[in-house]
């Protein structure tokens, strides 16, 4: 086979099959995809199903600690987990640029296989297209996923009530800074890596223990913690007050933010979740999270309150309260 993707690999004929057989199927081995029908068929249970989709277009497609494939699996798995669902089946559509290196594709698919195994999900159906050189940057991926939501779980902003506690599962900004470092050619510490990870195992463990005492789960991806909390406050019409000194940020990310003028609460995360829980289970939830590698730095950052409905306030270290608004323009490195 050639070393690069060619237009003919997307025409549905012999070369498309060769690409599928040589590169894709070896990484996504299961009875559903193996049939190579127009879709996957499987029995379903009665109950509530969660269904989500996301497209992944990150540039660069490789960054410290991961690649676009890792994001594509973890992102969709995590969205299902945020709905309280147990992720089960994933679809994967690849759009490849003519000339894309096949060994790059191999590395991305291999990562997807590893993430799917960790998350215990199967990639059961998919599609591959090839577009002309210059149309896209290398590779775009869309994944969609489904999973069933147990009856003992209900993750929805309407459940948020004053008195509940706001927990975040770990340090913020790691993913955004890792990607930005590669994009701008900054030489950052080797410890700055994406936090991209499948959280479903950890979230399931919490939900199995405390069920509906978790009011809502949401992952602070694009727009960061700040934007996500604003959405939750608006959707639930409650106020949320968070404490600046409780927000976990590594020293390395803090340094980069301070030099470039970024605000860590608006940076994207790909392996973190926000849980809003009833106060009486706060300690129990934290102790469960701490037993997982993706939750070691979990901490309470704030409280839901009845005043200031729809607003998010951040109490700074010096005691002032600053109102947080959703992210507007993308943050750019400041001039001076």
């Amino acid at each position: 086979m050639s070393e690069k993707v060619k237009l003919v690999h997307g025409n549905g004929g012999r070369f498309s099959h060769e690409l599928l057989e040589t590169y894709i199927l070896p990484h996504f081995k299961n009875e559903w995809l193996g049939v190579l029908h127009d879709g996957a068929q499987f029995p379903v249970q009665a109950g509530r199903m969660a269904f989500t989709t996301d497209s992944y277009v990150v540039t660069p497609y490789e960054f410290p600690g991961g690649n676009i494939g890792k994001l594509a699996i973890c992102g969709t798995v995590n969205d299902l987990a945020m709905n309280g669902a147990i992720p089960q089946y994933i679809s994967c559509a690849l759009i490849l640029e003519e000339g894309f290196e096949l060994k790059q594709l191999e590395a991305i698919l291999s990562t997807m296989e590893a993430m799917a195994a960790e998350a215990q999900v199967q990639i059961v159906t998919g599609d591959t297209k090839v577009v002309e050189k210059g149309s896209i940057d290398g590779i775009f991926i869309n994944t969609a996923g489904i999973g069933m939501i147990p009856d003992t779980v209900d993750s929805h902003p309407k459940n948020i009530k004053p008195g509940m506690k706001v927990i975040v599962t770990g340090t913020l900004g790691d993913h955004a800074i890792a990607v930005m470092g590669t994009r701008y050619g900054l030489s950052l510490a080797a410890s700055i890596q994406t936090d991209c990870a499948p959280l479903n195992g950890m979230i399931q463990a919490v939900l199995e223990k405390v069920g509906k005492k978790v009011a809502v789960l949401r992952d602070p991806t694009r727009g960061g913690l700040g934007t996500t909390l604003c959405e939750l406050a608006q959707q639930s019409q409650t106020g949320i007050l968070i404490e600046e000194e409780q927000i976990p940020v590594t020293a390395e990310v803090k340094s980069v933010c301070s030099i470039l003028g970024y605000d860590a609460i608006y940076l994207a995360n790909e392996g973190k979740a926000i849980l809003i829980v009833e106060a009486d289970v706060e300690e129990e939830v934290l102790s469960i999270l701490h037993t997982f590698k993706y939750g070691k730095a979990a901490t309470t950052i704030g409280t839901v309150i009845s005043q200031n409905k729809g607003k998010v306030g951040l109490r700074t270290t010096i005691g002032g309260i600053r109102i947080i608004e959703p992210l507007g323009e993308d943050q750019v490195p400041r001039i001076c």
Partner: protein
């Protein structure tokens, strides 16, 4: 330098606030002006206004280099951008600053070749990779950035790359402060001086504030406790009638500044008059490339031949905001016609512009609306 823990910061802040309450006279309205966009943002981020007595008002001045770059400069940049063989290299903030007819971002969408850089030195690589193009770098900024750009001019001069030019409109902070004090309107009772500019220039260029104008001034860092200690310093100067250039940022600001940077700036540039948006021409407040480096001055080597657009009134009050005469939310366009999505003036474009900061952090009367 010791880094404070969160608890130590909170305790220090309490002590500083207690000292502030001891030093100020209740009922006396004081206006302290900061002249650094990073301070504008830091003051909001730290929630400083909520913890200060309400009579101490913090006002933003002309501290954002993007905001004080005037419309004519943008129109020149756009005129060069439209030329076939030109690549404009610029800091990201400049993309959305409106010229008379449109912005660089709009010109880019219409096919102009605009390259956003993070470090000025990137233009050397840009020049090498595009030998048949003219790379024109939009060289704006206060003293902090001037030092870096001076280094870039030198690097270009020492290289063999000969297709790089600069459209210069640097601004110097100390002359602008004098103009602010001379204006008939407005009340300024003290200056919170810029941290990073002062790293370059040190304390001496501000000396006239204490000697000639007897106005307290203090160089300050950007954390909450650093800003509060700067305010304590200003109040102590007022109380004792002993005026000086305070320095609460001695971790990075030396009295004499950075002599290497100052020498390099002096080698590359000479002082000239310059136009500040909304403030007119300020004497000896700008820089231009001096010989032999003026061979990289694009206006000298490739002067524009087509006339620039005639300035149209938009109702923008950036000038009055920059001089601290009105708050951003007192401009009739603020938040209605002029937002960060659709900026009318430069103060709304730059991340560290007063209007953008006010829009992002303090729309409800300076962020004081948390109940």
């Amino acid at each position: 330098m010791k880094t404070l823990t969160s608890q130590e910061k909170a305790n220090t802040a309490k002590a500083l606030l207690a000292r502030i309450r001891e030093l100020y006279t209740p009922g006396e309205h004081l206006r302290f002006m900061e002249v650094c966009g990073t301070h504008t943002v830091a003051i909001f981020r730290e929630g400083i206004r909520q913890v200060l007595p309400p009579e101490i008002e913090l006002v933003s001045g002309p501290g954002c280099p993007v905001c004080v770059t005037d419309q004519i400069y943008m129109d020149k940049a756009l005129a060069y951008a439209k030329q076939e063989d030109v690549i404009i290299a610029t800091f990201g903030d400049m993309l959305k600053v409106p010229g008379t007819e449109h912005s660089l971002a709009e010109a880019q969408a219409a096919g102009a070749h605009i390259h956003v850089i993070y470090s000025p030195l990137e233009i050397l690589e840009l020049g090498k990779q595009n030998p048949d193009k003219k790379i024109i770098f939009l060289a704006i900024g206060f003293e902090t950035t001037i030092a870096a750009i001076a280094g870039t001019v030198k690097a270009v001069h020492l290289s063999s790359v000969r297709n790089i030019f600069f459209l210069v409109s640097h601004k110097l902070v100390p002359p602008a402060l004098r103009v602010l004090l001379e204006q008939k309107e407005g009340q300024i009772d003290g200056f919170i001086l810029p941290g990073h500019v002062s790293v370059i220039i040190g304390e001496e260029p501000y000396r006239y504030l204490a000697d000639a104008y007897k106005i307290p001034a203090c160089i300050t860092g950007f954390e909450g406790v650093e800003i509060l200690s700067g305010i304590v310093n200003l109040l102590e100067q007022r109380k004792t009638n002993h005026y000086q250039i305070g320095n609460q940022y001695t971790s990075v600001v030396m009295k004499t500044g950075n002599p290497v940077a100052l020498q390099l700036i002096d080698e590359i540039y000479e002082v000239c008059d310059d136009t500040w948006r909304g403030m007119g021409v300020l004497p000896k407040s700008g820089l231009r490339l001096k010989a032999p480096y003026d061979q990289y001055d694009v206006e000298k080597v490739y002067p524009l031949t087509t006339p620039l657009p005639v300035e149209k009134p938009t109702g923008c009050q950036c000038g009055r905001v920059l001089q601290g005469l009105i708050r951003p939310d007192e401009c009739p366009l603020f938040g209605k016609v002029c937002t960060t999505n659709h900026p009318v003036g430069a103060c709304m474009v730059s991340v560290e512009g007063s209007c953008a900061a006010w829009y992002k952090y303090g729309r409800a009367s300076g962020g004081l609306a948390w109940k």
